[in-house]
Structures are given as structure tokens and as C-alpha cells.
Assembly symmetry: D2
Homo-oligomer: 345 residues x 4
């Protein structure tokens, strides 16, 4: 950290800053300019808290130098993280395609959709059994019954499952059914939940919060990683801005930035990032071109009858066409999406 | 709800919309303009899901008409909600002043601060025992030990306690010690937690999420109210915007708007809303002038030694002066802050 | 427009609304629901001002139905607009690539860069002679001298020129030199300037303002189009959000949305949208995949010596590689970027 | 400025940074930590451009130390700026109240309103003759005819006039009629206009742009001040955020922050900051409590007939009541609003 003193700072104010830093077991390095003095903090112990220094008289600003996350950082772990889920290698050469309905609504709906998305080329089945809803009066998901249907769909199709877990107490239950635990945007900073999924050692997809800075997002990954759970994916799903024509603003920059700052795989969610099915295709194609390691896309056999997120769900046939478009772009950027010959036919 | 058809919509598309609405048990009212047809939905059953309608061919937009929250709404409950906590009536003529450190750091620190804020005119003691921190490596709070010290400080000074609860499993424990449960901004949409504090029947202060719309905030209050827990306060603590000179942007408009839309008391948190102690006074005075029913302010005997939020904490003497300034403004807007004669002396 | 009355509105309040509407020469259509009355406004005259109606007692909300822009709208003009600039058809099958330095800094710099970007496959030369700078003390551009050097570079290479014009009085001068007038983000709502470039009948590239809604952007295009100047391009260059890791947030959704709402060609500016050269490539590839009709990219022979925007400028060799990457993606989405055989070699 | 090298930076990379800095005529100060080297830049010449340094290999970040604005800064000019307009001292002990319609609509409207706002306690008459409108099809203002009517209203009532000027070419005309030139939010960074009003030596009210950072706003003031025109007021009028319930988000923090960073008077515009007349009073009271030096408020005799901004305009009698409320708060914070005895009666 660096402490920038005010031009008007006195020598005794500089001394007080030095005293406080040394008291914490650090050393200082002084740089006395013509206009102001700058105090560098040297030492490799625990990061020093900047607030107390900021408050000393004569201090203009305190500037952090290092990154606050470590396990999630590419500096610490230069190589890309990759790990298999079912038949797909997350973070590998091929992109992982996750698809399915927003909510599990019935046994037949999820089984039918599972077959349809598999046919279209998806590698992983998504579906919500516990749903975070803005209103207490809206459909809250089928709960464990929904998980059972997903499991059945998984067994029938061979697709692994990703589903959201919303509270620490339910982590063990959801782990019984799911291959990947999803942390929703609203819960990105639900630290008790992050600890719980970290301890579970289950693969986790961590959605970025609606107004989360890159650094905050990576700090939340750090919470999970700090339990030795290394199978963590980051998921950009759009941020909240002044623009309301789309449900969220897809922060496409976040994809290369997250991959630059971190070694973790980055998944894009074009469904939430746009909120309107008409734009899901363009956003999905863009995500592949920007370097995403996978996509999670809402697909529903009858969007107009969906109990949630119908407006942003693709019909299976549109999704099938999109997979081929994404594959062409993946190849154009030196990657691929592995699909069966049947899909290509 | 109102369905606005596209100018190009055909009669059979309009019929399909009508069919879907009637199928759900509603009636329709048609308005055929020169350019387009508008379909009104009539009926008082469960609110109809707009997504499926939005997806029908020929539909331009679906416009909600009513408000999605009910128990929290002033339409439903025209009179201001008020309830006593200790000696202060929350939502009454007098404003409630809550003050104390960000974190409980030691027995002596919280007891000393409790006496100091009481001396200065505070009615309620704030302090964090379980702390939501961006980094897993930062101080996470003293936990139950901190609650015990707060309780002791409360018994010594007679000030009721407000403290944050971060996970459903800890609600019973925190209820043993605290007079008011605080839901932090990061947890505003932690629905499991909202249900848990709702069921507890304990008074709750619900902070607005960093990027929460007014309606979403009130929907979260609705989650708590739906358990019959009517002692809910809303707390505006700043929102996240492009401006970074201050930690957050204090949405002062939110105070009159929340009071307009809802009957619940509205508390302002000028400490988080600015993030810098230099601006806490101006923000606090503004909140009183805008109609807040109370304030929650960070006070620390030695901010430069605080383990968290030192930069936004006031020293007790500055806080004492601020209470008198706020009292003068409260009186100027026809309200008051009740303080002992000692404070006035 | 639709007027939604409050549930508590009286019959005489409804009558007052009807009276005001009819007074303006419109007709009304009443829809009396169980909870509230809704008044539709019928007529095809000038759009009615909603503010006065909003203010009448008993009115809850006024909801606009149509779009406020017409000439820019795809409803009015279903086919894509396309027009030639030099050898490239803007809005056609092939994408237009515009490249060059942020500022013209010297005769040799712009001529050298012009040759380099042409070699790399660019169709149009960009460069700033009049620069909008945050500080009055920064380099403000070379002015007319810069335009002369650009013209010379254009004549030597055959590349048409795009350059920014910042004030109405300079439109005639800039038209003498430039093939396309650029309106910068800060000037998007500089209406005098929009009128001036509209009247000039010169092709215009209209950058989206930093915090401009889709509708506002299209209304600004409408200002230009209303002068009969139909050669208008929209340019998405990133919006301002809470995220500060990148200079701006590239609103990739804006590309398909603008193309959905409007027939005008959409150009992407990945340089400003990211602000860091490391991310320009990913953003450029994403823009092509999302359907952009062209790109404008900052290229500088020696970014570390650039007088402005060095941090987001590509070196010519990186730009050359990027053109080929973009071409591959363009082909993957059924379009192309036409470049000479020399580039492909 | 300070250059933070990457932990991995080599000695020759550090040397290259030093070389570039010294080449520009600055000196350096090296601070070699255990993890990384930090290079301080010493010298008091023209500010050095950080982009080229940022681009050198091994550089992590460049951190500016000083402020980019000088004439507007309180460091440079510690005392509050104050100057008289008519009978009121802007930036003095008493607050300046500016009021009037959004647009001048007719001779009688502006004269009637001028008398009404004077009666209610206003010191300055506002009114728009040239109007920036989102749509080219909306009423664009009465132009010079409107200025003439304002002048007449001014002569009849003795109130000085503030009105917006939108383009450089019209500055001389508007100066003939107006006592204060207003720069609107959309034109905050219209640099040609800033230069023109700077040169005019006329008093200027500079509205903050919708998404303007504090620093950018002050840099725009610097443009005006750099012409020796010292009579500049800053005006906070709300910023654009994700919240849409109100037209803008009133950044109340901006008032104490602007007064901290700058010596210029700060005016608040609660009308645009809320966009709904119901909330104008609360916002106005808050602004006074936060330390504003004045307010500019939209008042219209018949808001429901206003040609623009009716929804946010107060009727004269509500405005009159608000002036007394603001006066009470001004007195509570040690200031005042001077009004005639007639107003107090």
C-alpha cells in the first residue's frame, strides 16, 4: 500500500503515519517530492487495514497495490483451471453448453426438455427446483420433488445437472441430486452460503451479482476456494445499469477481464443478460467470440406456458440452431463445441 | 394488466391473446384504436403471469397496472406504522437515533461506546457481531462473544440493541440478544433469511440492496410481513452508481418515495451512504429534512483503530454535535428528536 | 397513450381526464375494470403531451404506446439502410472497418498509420483533429492542419476519412475534408450540432452518449434524419456503469436491439468500450458475432507515444491479426469482411 | 504520479520507465519493496500523460496524485467564492432562490409567474427560451421572443433572469437579456459552449451532466474559469442510475463533496433531481440541510397546461410554502433565506 500525504502535511503528521505502520509490523519507504511526501508500506505479512491510516491528519489518500484475492488470481495460478463434469471438460478446448428450463415444472416437462437439449447438443441440464422470486406470492419452485425429476431426467439422458441452492441448510440435500451447485446473482455475497458450498467440495457455478465489481466477484470465489474446493466457475449474467430496454446489460468485457485476472473458467448466461429471447442468440454468439468457456441458456418446450422466465427462454429448435452457430464461432476463435454426429446431420 | 398489440397484429392474434387470458379465468376488455388494439385484463384472482402473454405473436408489450406488493403498501394500509423499541416510538413524532461501532471489537470498546452514544442522545445501540466482509481474510466479527458484550452494554445503559443477522440458522441465537434484527444490503434478497426473520416476529430493519429498485425493496419487506411480522423498518443506505468519490450514492429521493408507497418507517444510514466521515453530517441532516423516521450512524471512540469502517465512523463528540444539529432540523420540519436535558445542556 | 386511473378515482375525475383529452382533439376509449378505469387515447394527430394528464387528480400513471421516433424506426422503414462510402457499402453484406489514431499528431504519423491500416484491411481512416478533452490543459488536437494531413493521407491511400466535428460553426470546414462526420458521445444531445450535421447532408456516425437510453439515441438520429439526411450510422461505444475496471461497459445487447428497433447501420467501437488494448480484440470479435455492421478501432504506430488514448490503441500488427479474426467470425455468421489478397496472404 | 510495477517486472523494465519519465523532464524517486518496485514522478511542470507509461512492459498501474483541476479547486482558492446577482449574494450567508417555469410559453405566463415567485420569496427568475428536447417534434421554446418576455418580466418585478444557452453562436444574444447563463446537463461537456460562456464574462450556472463524475464536472468549470470568468456556480440536478421511479437520482452527497473540493457556490435543482412535484419539497429541504448555497425550482401557475416539465412543476402557493420551510431549515443550519416581510406575514 502507498500513503499519499497532502501537500500541506507537516513532518509530525508524516511521522505519525510511519509510527502507525511500524506499530503493525511493517516497514516504510519514504519518497519526498517537491509537492508532497509519499509513504510506501513494505512487508509481506497480513494485509494492513487502510482505514485507520486514511484517518490520520495530513493523509490525502491510501492506494492499495496488490490484489485482495489470491487463490482466484492468475498471478498465483497462471494456468487455466479445468475439470471434467460428465463428459465435458469445463475450461478445456471445447465449450460446455448447459441448457434447460428456468424452473422444473413437472416430471414430463423436465424429461422432455432434457431430451430436447441433449438432441440439440447440450452437455449439461439446467433447471431450478428452489427459485429466488421477487415476490413471495410467485411460484417458488417444486423443491425436492423438482430435484427428483431432474435426477430422473439426468439418468435417462446421461446429462449432468446444474441447479441453484439458496440457503446453507439445503446444501447437503441439493448435493445429493446435483452435479453442479449454482449460486444465484442475488446470493453472490451470501457468505454463509459460500462457506457451505465451499465445504461441500461440490463443483460450483458462481453468478456475478447484479452490481458486483470484478474484484468483489473474485473475492466471493475466494471464499469458496478457501475451503479447498477448486472446482469453481464464474458466470457473467448481466449487470444492472440505467438501460432498461433489456432486463440486464450483458457486460461482455467481463469475459476477457475475468479470464485475465483469474484462472477460473468463465461461463456466460445470455438468457438473463438480455431477458428477451430475441436477443439471446446475438448475446450467446458474442460470448463465444469473446472467449467464454461455456454457456448456460434457458430452453423451454413451450415458453408461453413457462411458470418463470418464459420471455427469455428459447424453444428447443431455436436452441438447436444456436448451438450450431456457436460452434461455427468457437471454431473461428480456435476452440470448438463438441456435439454428436446426429446434431451435425 | 394491459396488453398492447402491435399495429400489425391480426385479428386472430388478438383472439389468441383473449383465449389465453380467459383460459386463466380472467375477463378481457377490448379497446380498438385506429392504429392498434389494446386488451385490458379484468379480474381479481391471483395476479396473471405476464411472460406467456408477452410471447404471443402480435403482442407489443404487457403493462402491469397494480403494485406487486400489498402488505407493505400504503394503499392497503394508509396510516403510518409505528411501534415502540425501548423508550423510543419508531415511526412516531420523534426520530429514532441508532448509533455505535461498525463491529464489536472488545468488551470495553462496546461498553464505552454505548455510554458515549447514550450521552450524545442516541436511543438504540448498533454494533456488528457477525460481519459480512468482502474478503474471507478480513476480520469476520466476534460472533456470539460480541453479542454478549453488546447485551452487557445494553443492560448497563438501557439502550436496546440492533445487530445484523446473516444466515437463517443464526436467527434464534441473535434473537436472544438483539432487540432489532438487521438485514444487510448484501442479503436484501436472501429469501431464506427473510422468511426466518419474518417467522421470528422480532423487529427487523431491512437495508436496501446496493442496486435495488424501490419495488424490489418493498417486495422484500413483503416477504417479512407475510409472516405476520409487522415491525419492519426500511433503511436507505446508499446505492451503487458510477460515482466513486463517495462509497455509495445516497438516494435521498428514496426517503419520500418509500414513505409515499409504504406505511413502514424509513431509517437513513448516512455512514454507508457516504463512506467518509466528513460527509456523514451533511447526509444525516439531509435525511432528517427529507422526512426520515430515524437514523443509524457509525460511531467509534477511536476510528483510526477501528477494525472495520473506520473511515466512515464519527468520534463521539462529533456525533454529539450532530445530534443537536439534527434535532434543530427535525423541529424545523415539525418533528423532534427526544434527548435528555443533559444532552441539551 | 393510455391513462391508468387510481382505484380511488371518482367519476368526475375520470370525466376531467376525458375532457382534457377531447379538448386536444383526440377521442377516448373507456375500459372500466372492477378495480379501476383505464382511458385509452385515440387519434393520429400530433403526439399528446402526457405531463398535463399525469397531473390531473385521480390519475395513477400515463403509459405511452407508440415509439417517439419515426424516421429512425424499423416499423416505418423495414429494410436495412445501406449506402456506399468509398469502396465499402455501409450496412451491406460486408462489414466496414474504420481504423486510425485517436488524434492526428503529425503529417508523418497519420500518413504512416493510413498505409498501415490499409495494409491490414481497413476501409476507412479515422483520426481526430478537433478533440474533446476533459481538461482544458490537455492537447486539443491539431485543428484544420490535422484535417489537411488526413486529407493527404486519404489521397495517398484511397481511404475515405471519418473525423469528429464538435461545434456547429465548424461543420462546413470539416465537410470540406471529411467523408463522414463523427458526433462524439459527449455531444450526442448537442441539438444545434445535430441540426447542423443534418443540414449538411454529409454521412454521419452518431455515437451513443455515455448514459443514453436506446430511445434517446434513436431520437438523436431522428434529429439528423429530419433534415432529409439519410446516411446515418449508429455507434455503440460503451456506457458508463458502476464497473470501473474497464473504461466503459460495452453494451453488446445494444447491437441487436438497435438493429431490431431501427434500420440504420450499427457500428461498434471496441476501443472506447474497453479502454484497454488487451481487451479490444475480444470486444471486437464479440461485436461482429452480435451483428455489427462495422467497427471503428484505434490504431497507433507507437501507442506509448500517443498524445491521447494510447492505452486503448492497437499497434498495426495486432490490428492486422484482429482483422483476420473478425473476418473468420463474420463468415461464421453469414457475412464477410472484404480485404485484398495481400492481406490474406 | 506514481508508477506501480508488476511483481514480475525486470530491472530493465524499471529502467525503461525511468528513461521515459526523465525524457519528459521529470525526476524519479525509486521505492524498491520486497514484492515490487514503485516509481514516483517528481517535478512541477505540465502534468505528464499517464497512458504512455501505462503501456510500458512491466507496469501494473499508474496512479495520479494531484487534482486535474486547479482554478476550481479549494486547495488553490481556500475561501468560498461569492458574488452578487441583483440583490442576492450568491455563495453568501443567505441562500439564493431561483424559480420560474421550465419554458416561457407566453408573455402573460412569464409575467404572472414572475410576480408569483417574487411574492413567494424568490430572488431570481428562471425560464427557458431555447429548450433542449429529446424529440425534434416537441416544442423547442419561443427563442428570442421568449427572452424579450423574460426581460419584460424582469423589469416589472426587479428579478434578475437565468436562462439556458445551448450553442456558442447564441451566447451574445442570450447575454443581452440574461443575468445568468445556464449550461444544461446535456451540454456539460460541450466544450465550444464552455469556451464561449467563459469568454462572455457573464455569470454561469453549470449543471452537472447526467453521468458526470465530480472531477469531470469541476474540469468543465475549469474550462469556464480558464477564461478569467470567475462567476461560476455548480448545479447538482440529479444523476442517471438504475432507479427509475424518480426521473433522476438526487446525489445529495455531491453538495458537501463539491463544496469540499471547490470554492464555487453550489446550487441544487430538486425539480429535475426528482421529476415529480410530490417529491420536490423533500429534496429541496434536504439540499438546504446538506449545505446548498441556493436552489433552482420549477414553478408554473398551471402545471397541467405546461408545455414541458409540468409533472415536476410546483404551483405558486406550494412553492411559497416551501420557501418558508426551507428558510426554517436554513436557519437551523446557521444560514438564512432573505425574504420580504410580506412573505413572512
Amino acid at each position: 500500500m502507498i500513503v499519499i500525504m497532502k501537500p500541506s502535511a507537516t513532518m509530525s503528521q508524516v511521522s505519525a503515519v510511519i509510527g502507525l505502520i511500524e506499530e503493525k509490523g511493517y516497514r516504510v519507504h519514504l519518497s519526498e517530492g517537491e509537492e508532497r511526501t509519499i509513504v510506501g508500506i513494505i512487508g509481506s505479512g497480513a494485509p494492513i487495514n487502510k482505514d485507520p491510516i486514511q484517518l490520520l491528519p495530513g493523509v490525502d489518500r491510501v492506494v492499495p497495490v496488490g490484489k485482495p484475492f489470491k487463490l482466484a488470481s492468475r498471478e498465483f495460478h497462471p494456468d487455466d483451471t479445468h475439470f471434467p463434469i460428465g463428459n465435458v471438460m469445463i475450461g478445456g478446448h471445447g465449450l460446455a453448453i448447459m441448457a434447460g428450463p428456468c424452473s422444473v415444472e413437472s416430471r414430463s416437462q423436465i424429461i422432455e426438455t432434457a431430451y430436447a437439449v441433449k438432441e440439440a447438443g447440450a452437455h449439461i441440464l439446467r433447471g431450478g427446483a428452489f427459485k429466488p422470486r421477487s415476490s413471495p406470492y410467485s411460484f417458488q419452485g417444486m423443491g425436492e420433488e423438482g430435484l427428483r425429476y431432474m435426477k430422473e431426467a439426468s439418468e435417462l439422458t446421461g446429462l449432468p445437472i446444474i441447479t441453484e441452492v439458496m440457503e446453507p441448510a439445503l446444501v447437503p440435500l441439493v448435493c445429493e441430486y446435483a452435479d453442479i451447485l449454482q449460486i444465484g446473482a442475488r446470493n453472490m455475497q451470501n457468505y454463509a452460503l459460500l462457506h457451505a458450498v465451499g465445504r461441500s467440495q461440490h463443483p460450483v457455478l458462481l453468478k456475478r451479482g447484479m452490481s458486483s465489481l470484478m474484484e468483489e466477484w473474485l473475492m466471493c470465489a475466494e471464499y469458496i476456494l478457501s475451503h479447498g474446493n477448486t472446482r469453481v466457475m464464474l458466470c457473467e449474467r448481466g449487470i444492472r445499469t440505467f438501460e432498461k430496454y433489456t432486463r440486464n446489460t450483458f457486460d461482455i468485457n467481463a469475459i476477457p477481464v475475468a479470464k485475465h485476472l483469474s484462472h477460473l473458467p468463465v461461463i456466460a448466461d445470455p438468457s438473463h443478460a438480455t431477458g428477451k429471447w430475441e436477443y439471446v442468440g446475438a448475446a450467446a454468439r458474442a460470448a463465444v467470440a469473446a472467449g467464454a468457456d461455456g454457456l448456460i441458456i434457458e430452453v423451454h418446450p413451450e415458453p408461453e406456458k413457462a411458470m418463470s422466465d418464459g420471455a427469455q427462454s428459447l424453444k428447443p429448435e431455436k436452441f438447436a440452431a444456436l448451438v450450431l452457430e456457436m460452434k461455427a464461432i468457437a471454431q473461428a476463435v480456435g476452440r470448438d463445441i463438441e456435439v454428436s454426429n446426429k446434431v451435425l446431420a
